[in-house]
Point group: D2
Chain length 424, copies 4
């Protein structure tokens, strides 16, 4: 039997039974079985280095031992697993610890909301509360933003393929240029002009929503000064500032929240992905107390009480009790950035451009399709890495934050081999 | 210290740190800790009979031993927990078992899609695919429907408080009268007239979406003949029929799918809640192969690969390998229906009306606020039961399907005591 | 040269230079030149009886002598012709006379607004003010309603071909069943149920808009009791009642306003078409003083000051100084109704159904396409009469109100000949 | 009796009977009676120089003698006045003459559509056909655009007060920066970037609609190179280019169409206002033959056959048979521009900025409210001139094109006196 046939056989169940919508099992056509730290193994026992981290969900790596232990213990004790937003011990513990470890030390005061346990759900809740509080209907989002796939969050997502998938026109939103969007033009001046001119055709919005580093949009990192200016515009016109920190939060850029270095205090913050610690579905929405104007149950969802996730989430907070974790991430980020720069210089045929911040980096590659070929080759060689950007033109590095120097080097070495192979 | 003060202290964390949007922890002001089968215990050790089942998520009861074992084993073996839609062993197993145990025996042919792991997400995916396939934008839903809280699914949800929470007008949908909505008037003739008249002001929709038994809307059970007629209208005008079986599916009404007794074959079926077996977030969308016209990744979501849920879900399918489970549910449903009838007759002051089907039943109570008082009293007495309906006028019975006769009797006996107390 | 060729030559300019959107010049392929009273003549000198009256714009007939004189005199004196909403003598005179002759005697108190001089513009202004006053966004309209072709008024128009022409989905409106829409079902119960149930999926609207007799929709005349009930629903829920009297007003049904026999007092009334007396563009919106909450210029339009129209309009009001005009219309309406009934009985193959009220009547004909054939034949024989209804199934009689008995008889006699010819 | 009391008495009818929406009768509180050429007289016999021209409707001045004669003759002969889109002699003559005098000599090939006789109606028809032809739903318009007040055209109008008046969110449109909108930034690069990036959040639109000189928006004249670039973008992405020449067309800027100097050929052109010659309601939409894909009656309107307007319109075309008319306008425009410059220099306290092109010019004045005060003073002194711009900051000069040098000088002299008085 040839390899091709074996491959075919392996993926048969997915090909025959699963909807055509499936995507990752196409690019990585194997069956994953086990995972630990920054490594995965498929059913053939082949090992993979993880530069993907569940699209930013596994910042603490796969199967953290302490989290595993806590979850198993809870199940063995018949702890309540599903509870909507009833009071439970894990929910109580998470609330208290999140406040102590994350909010208080950062001098942040937020009410914590548990929407349905997905990124799109926290975004939908953020948009709703901003509209309720301000009585305005429109929201400003940015070029190449990604906020989710349900109609509310999709309406602030920029990608045309994804928007078109809605099957209906998407309303009540305006797309503005992200930092550095048009060469030599200052996107803040545009935004400001549209807001201050009553004849601009753009109404004062309920909110401005943004990712400080756009993950799906091509690893575009806004400058801190740009974030500060956006916050200032929001204050000037009583617009709520929503930071969607679903992918860039939870330490991904080196600080717990990605906006910390800018010194801003968003009105609403969306968290999901790595908030659940071990990869279990969970999301929270942080809302400044003065804007927490919900009626009881005005936004709800069946799985807003995923207790196993709360347990792992609470355990994960331990990483934030001291500055060590954060410092280690930043150190690894520096190493990654240096290596990326070296690769760009060493392989000028890539016409590569370094992107990103923290452990959320990428190389934009000019030639159409080349980034995808590099990722495909890397998979064959045992590295899980994917593309992003409107034309899949960016090779995106999103390793678990707990990866060690050895893992990073090994992964980058596979990447370099793949570049050589593909550009040969 | 008085009880009131203790109560206050107990819920302090939730009151101070959680958003005002929280709801269940208001009506049931305690902290739940453990749960098994049809019972829960709070941190004070108080026991509760569960007539709520996580709003239909715990059809197989709390902490099913076999499911617990499988999950623990998987974690202990460092099984991959989070995987988006990559191929994994638990995903493969679920696909194969679901096909063998559920689809094939019912002569149903569906592609299986994994949207984000919540009810609202499967509904959003169903609406998208219907719009894509038909090229039409509007969707017909029904009075008192509940399909979710994100903007797409909220647009087909009928409740005005929930719709208003959107903060924007909801578009591309038309609300039609559910079965038996207006006294002495046939809602099918009405619907048919609107569809056949090109001057009706209602465009041919992409889809008609419905729950066969409306859970949140007041436990309104459509007649089988009505469902058949809706399917016939859909066929006549090439409209996709979407059954939202998130709450009524997974055996809740006695058969796996709630629509089986009507002999219809929906084009799209939405499942969530109890699909995950033990209460972990999971959802699937079933799509007839000819309508599975998605592009890869056209609808996605980070948590569409919740492997722990897949494991429990696969284990749960064992219940459907023979007819015994189904028959037992129906038997319990009959007993519940008889008891409900007796209560209505015994307490005429309720002006009660029996509602529902299978183990999804309720008593509609005329006097405003009375249903809520009964539920509050029941909670004090150790029974978890909630209201539904546009004015919270229905006491809703949704026990785990695995409840035994003793549990049902005990719960109903607490209910009767509560009625007596409240109507005294 | 054959007749067909001559015909071709005659219409060449329109065929070659005018947009494909042209419609009446297709059904009546000739060039009209002169007109007086209820007669028209084309450039070949052929005479036509007018049962169309400019789609209800020529209630006072073509070229009323007194109106002609007044207009000519005004022009000869260099009276200001175009004035937006500046103060002018003809505007002042119209305002005063309309108040004295129409409003006061009917005990109606309205502010008079001059929107752009077309029907669709008065409807757009009515929808705007209703939304502003109530702060609600949606409007309820009825099956087979026609209110105009600009996006606002089109959104409350029911015809699917016309709606589809928008090229965008039409929002913020709900279509409800008009009087007698579904056989044996009471449309008021439906409407009431939807309004009173907070779980109906239909929000409380800013307004209910309706035509008392639907012209384009098939000459459907609502019963007075139905109109009264709609008004009562509006009062109960603080919904503004908008009567679109563009076609049915100005005496068309026998009284000045079509709603007078119902004894209701709408909150907003839309008038256009015959308001301008001689067929010149003009429209007014009547608004109860308490709802006249416009800011200056909040709705405007260049041609809202068409002084020639004001002059003819003021002259036309003379007809309403006594009851004679109204009584004469009702007498002619009775004669028309009797003749229509006789025709239906005499030609049972039509399966005809009498429709309408006043001099706004029609015969609905079951066989598809037959109504159109009768109208085409009538044109050849010198009668201008058109179809209406969603499938063009109604032969519509809309003669000038000033037609005399002889004219009516002559027209109806041509109609009968056409029926005989076509059904032969 | 004091003057104030007389004034009060004079306007009493308007104040008491007309809706609060009236605007011009507030700023110019008198009753106009007669008008000829560039002069108006009120009922007190006071004379006014007209620098307003019916907001651009009276390019040929008031009561042109030849037009008056033709209209009177037609009425006296019982010419058909109202005809929807039936064939009539005046309609035929207009079509033929417009083709010969305007289109052919400019090498333009358009089908001519008669929408309802107002500017907003031609814009609504343009948007509809663009959406139908392309199958796309959104339309790009520009900052400070004004296209009309019905929901379709209002959705491409930028002014926030006017948009807010809709009472509903306005959809399917995107506002982009007009030429020179943000200092030192190139609005074309901005627009281009949004169009070429599939991740911009802005879908490819059906059309781009613009005024070459924005009248209501503050007399902002786009440069010819900017117009050329917009046309190039439209061609590159198969976007229809709609020029709304309602105010700037009909010779206002010196050429018949305002876009002629740019050498572009728009796909759709909207004309109204002065197209009717003498100020009677009329509008046409010009559509390239390949885009004239209307179904018969897909857009219609009762007053699309205003024969009196067609007669004056045909007469007005005589002005375009030679170049003299056009040259005279340009000469007067130069004089106006020079005088405006002189005034700006002479009165530096205005901080004035010259705006506009042809006989569509203005002075933007920095100090809030000053422009309005100048216009109010001018009215007292016998000059009709109004403000425009988002903050009414521009004094707008729109004299009839037929004004002579004397008239211009007289008007500008009153203006100067008013400036002196107000800034004193």
């Amino acid at each position: 039997m040839t390899t091709a046939v074996i491959q075919d056989t392996k993926m048969k169940t997915f090909e025959e039974m699963e909807s055509a919508v499936r995507s990752y099992s196409r690019g990585w056509p194997t069956i994953f079985n086990k995972a630990k730290g920054y490594k995965l193994w498929d059913t053939d026992g082949k090992e993979y280095i993880d530069f993907f981290a569940g699209a930013g969900t596994l910042n603490y790596g796969h199967n953290d031992q302490a989290m595993q232990n806590k979850i198993i213990e809870y199940i063995q004790n018949d702890g309540i697993i599903h509870s909507l937003d009833m009071g439970t011990t894990p929910r109580k513990n998470f609330l208290e610890r999140f406040n102590e470890v994350i909010l208080k030390p950062r001098n942040l005061d937020y009410k914590i909301m548990f929407p349905g346990p997905t990124g799109t759900n926290t975004v939908e809740s953020a948009l709703k509360i901003a509209r309720k509080v301000t009585g305005r209907d429109s929201v400003i989002s940015f070029t190449n933003a990604f906020h989710g796939m349900t109609i509310g969050s999709l309406s602030v997502t920029a990608n045309s393929f994804k928007r078109h998938g809605a099957g209906v026109p998407l309303h009540h939103t305006v797309s503005m240029p992200f930092d550095d969007y048009v060469e030599d033009q200052d996107s803040i001046s545009y935004l400001e002009r549209f807001l201050e001119d009553s004849g601009s055709g753009v109404a004062l919005p309920a909110a401005i929503i943004l990712e400080t580093v756009q993950g799906e949009g091509g690893i575009n990192a806004a400058r801190m000064i740009w974030l500060k200016k956006v916050e200032a515009l929001c204050k000037r016109w009583d617009i709520l500032l929503i930071i969607d920190d679903v992918q860039a939060g939870n330490g991904r850029t080196g600080t717990y929240f990605s906006f910390e270095p800018a010194g801003i205090k968003p009105d609403v913050v969306c968290l999901s992905k790595s908030i659940g610690g071990i990869g279990l579905p969970m999301a929270i929405t942080l809302i400044k107390p003065e804007y927490d104007q919900w009626g009881p149950g005005e936004h709800n969802g069946t799985f807003r009480g995923n207790n196993l996730a709360f347990i792992a989430a609470t355990e994960a907070l331990k990483n934030w009790e001291s500055v060590e974790f954060s410092e280690a991430v930043q150190e690894k980020a520096n190493f990654l950035r240096e290596t990326v720069q070296k690769l760009i210089e060493k392989y000028p045929q890539l016409k590569g451009e370094a992107r990103g911040r923290g452990l959320m980096q990428g190389i934009a590659i000019e030639e159409e399709g080349l980034a995808g070929k590099i990722c495909a080759e890397a998979f064959q060689r045992g590295l899980i890495v994917e593309t992003s950007g409107p034309n899949d033109e960016v090779v995106k590095f999103l390793p678990p934050l707990v990866i060690d120097r050895e893992g990073l080097e090994k992964g980058l070495s596979i990447l370099e081999e793949s570049i050589i192979q593909v550009t040969a």
